[in-house]
């Protein structure tokens, strides 16, 4: 449902995401709040938000691979890891931040192509297992490489990001770095469905046998979908590396990959809004649980940290289940329905 009173004189304006002056105004206001936040928020809060931005970038990539192209990927965390280790290595070699992040994206993309090659042959469960193999192989490979390459079991320190003589390694610096790239991730995620390659991704998702006959090179498109999704993972990994200041293989687990997928499912697989809503919602739930968990731990009820950790996983599981049962199209669909109802009011929907 489009807003009323908006008429387009060209196909270019019709393709705009923000159609009304009001929506552009709201977004500018929201952007201004995000830019001004470091003035008020505590370093802890900024750290949490930076983490959220990093997760959002990774989940945007997952939306491209899984949501748009329908190629299941449960190795996004390993791809984030590839980005993080690339960034660590390059920063140690003295590369500046403006070179490190694009390089991490491209190298992660290249690594993902290696694992995307089987995607040309296998589908569904089998593809899920293939990407699982990528996730499992990631720490094995890092540990097997010589210590001097990627630090092996110990891990690797990361040099702080310096841009134009400005150290971005502070909480607010990292916050702005995360914000800038999260904005870029969201912008590109909204661009993709309106492009030739984005439509090709979706044809592969919807009906790959028909796509092949209609002149779309399906194998190539599937590999490009992995590549595009891994670019995001590489960026997320690089920023995460700067934030952690030290990378080890144990930070990039299968568990995190499942969380990324869970966020995407809760938010909605089929709208670029899905990653945003999913990441924000699940992060809020997680933080709520952590706060509650800390309160329980300090109350001396005898519940250990293990129980609290288990509870947060349980709640994520329930969120995914609830999303799958009640709204498989995710929070994004609920949002679109609310918008439609709002625009039609006082007339009922349907």
């Amino acid at each position: 449902m489009r807003p009323t009173g908006i008429w387009h004189a060209s196909y270019a304006t019709e393709a705009r995401v923000l159609e009304t002056v009001r929506s552009r105004l709201w977004l500018s206001l929201f952007g201004a709040v995000l830019l001004g936040l470091p003035l008020m928020a505590s370093p802890w809060m900024l750290g949490e938000l930076t983490n959220l931005f990093i997760t959002l970038i990774a989940v945007c990539g997952l939306y491209v691979t899984v949501g748009m192209a329908g190629q299941i990927n449960i190795a996004q965390s390993a791809f984030v890891g590839v980005g993080a280790f690339t960034a660590a290595k390059l920063s140690n070699m003295g590369a500046p931040v403006w070179a490190v992040i694009p390089a991490a994206a491209l190298i992660t993309g290249a690594v993902s192509v290696l694992f995307a090659l089987p995607a040309a042959r296998v589908k569904g469960f089998y593809l899920a297992l293939t990407t699982l193999a990528a996730q499992v192989m990631f720490p094995i490979v890092i540990l097997a490489l010589p210590m001097s390459w990627l630090g092996g079991l110990v891990g690797m320190p990361v040099m702080p990001p310096v841009l134009f003589g400005l150290n971005l390694g502070t909480p607010s610096g990292l916050y702005f770095l995360g914000l800038a790239f999260a904005a870029l991730a969201v912008w590109t995620t909204y661009n993709l469905p309106r492009s030739r390659i984005g439509r090709a991704f979706r044809t592969v998702h919807d009906n790959d046998s028909a796509a092949g006959v209609m002149g779309i090179p399906v194998t190539r498109i599937k590999i490009e979908a992995f590549f595009a999704g891994a670019l995001y993972a590489g960026v997320a990994g690089a920023i995460l590396a700067y934030m952690l200041q030290f990378v080890t293989v144990s930070s990039f687990t299968l568990f995190a990959s499942v969380w990324y997928l869970g966020m995407l499912i809760v938010g909605g697989l089929h709208s670029p809004l899905g990653p945003i809503l999913g990441v924000v919602f699940v992060t809020l739930v997680q933080e709520g649980l952590h706060t509650a968990g800390n309160a329980i731990l300090q109350s001396g009820s005898g519940l250990g940290g293990g129980a609290v950790f288990a509870a947060s996983s349980l709640v994520l599981g329930l969120c995914i289940l609830a999303a799958l049962i009640f709204e498989p199209r995710g929070l994004a669909h609920i949002w679109h329905q609310l918008m439609t109802a709002f625009r039609l009011w006082p007339f009922p929907r349907n």
Partner: protein
């Protein structure tokens, strides 16, 4: 560079086997430029096998498929699509999560430019290209009278409309020939009438020849310029609808064999 005699596409002595079943035996047909050519015959006669050989799904064991005088027997469907052979499918093979216009736009894939980075960063050249192809998609939407449904998700559309989107996507390939597999199956009489009109318009306005497999004899006899009749993997008759209708072998082997078909003829 059409083959002599104005044939745009030709099957020469095709043979195809599935295990013990000989689907096609020495089948030769010629599709003339600017014609609607129907393939008819009882179930299992080999119509779909022949159609699939033309569109590249099956590769004949013997014989050759010629397109514009070139042997294309070994090429696969995506390559044939690029050569200019577009097909529509039996049943529904559209992209259900995309809108009608997006479905049609996917047909332009090979004619458009831009990979992952152009898609991500949407440079000005990409926006201009989108505009250009949206205009072309609208021409097809206009032709197929899909204006009301251009932004509707195809998965929510009626069967007849989805078939029209399928046809629009095939037209976006800017084909030199259109291959249609049972385009009328499952349609209401009104939808059949609309589609018959579109097929004739495709021949007359776009100058695109159409090959189709169809069971509805009324439609076949009304819109076809040429009809090939297959039975047990052989072509038993070929000619104009009038010629075929009065062919003794056709009446005996096909129309005479099925009472409802006889009534239709």
């Amino acid at each position: 560079m059409a083959a002599p005699g104005g044939a745009i596409m030709e099957a020469r002595a095709l043979g195809l086997r599935f295990g013990a079943v000989e689907a096609l035996k020495d089948v030769s047909i010629r599709i003339e430029a600017g014609s609607v050519h129907a393939l008819i015959g009882p179930n299992g006669a080999g119509k779909s096998s022949l159609l699939n050989c033309l569109s590249g799904f099956y590769h004949p064991w013997t014989g050759a498929v010629l397109f514009e005088g070139r042997d294309i027997s070994a090429t696969r469907p995506p390559e044939r699509a690029r050569l200019g052979i577009a097909r529509t499918f039996q049943g529904i093979q559209t992209y259900p999560s995309m809108t009608a216009r997006e479905n049609i736009l996917t047909g332009f894939h090979a004619q458009m430019k831009g990979g992952v980075f152009s898609g991500l960063f949407r440079p000005r050249s990409a926006i201009r290209q989108e505009e250009e192809f949206a205009t072309r998609a609208e021409e097809i939407i206009d032709f197929l009278e899909l204006e009301q449904d251009r932004h509707r998700t195809v998965g929510d559309m009626s069967y007849g409309l989805r078939k029209r989107v399928d046809l629009g996507r095939a037209l976006a390939l800017a084909p030199k020939i259109l291959v249609m597999d049972e385009p009328m199956a499952g349609m209401s009489p009104e939808e059949k009438g609309d589609l018959a009109r579109f097929i004739l318009d495709i021949r007359d306005h776009f100058g695109i020849p159409v090959v189709l497999v169809e069971h509805d004899m009324d439609v076949v006899m009304d819109i076809s310029d040429r009809v090939s009749v297959l039975e047990f993997g052989h072509v038993i008759a070929e000619g104009t609808p009038t010629e075929v209708r009065s062919d003794a072998r056709v009446i005996a082997a096909y129309l005479g064999g099925a009472p409802e078909a006889e009534a239709a003829a």
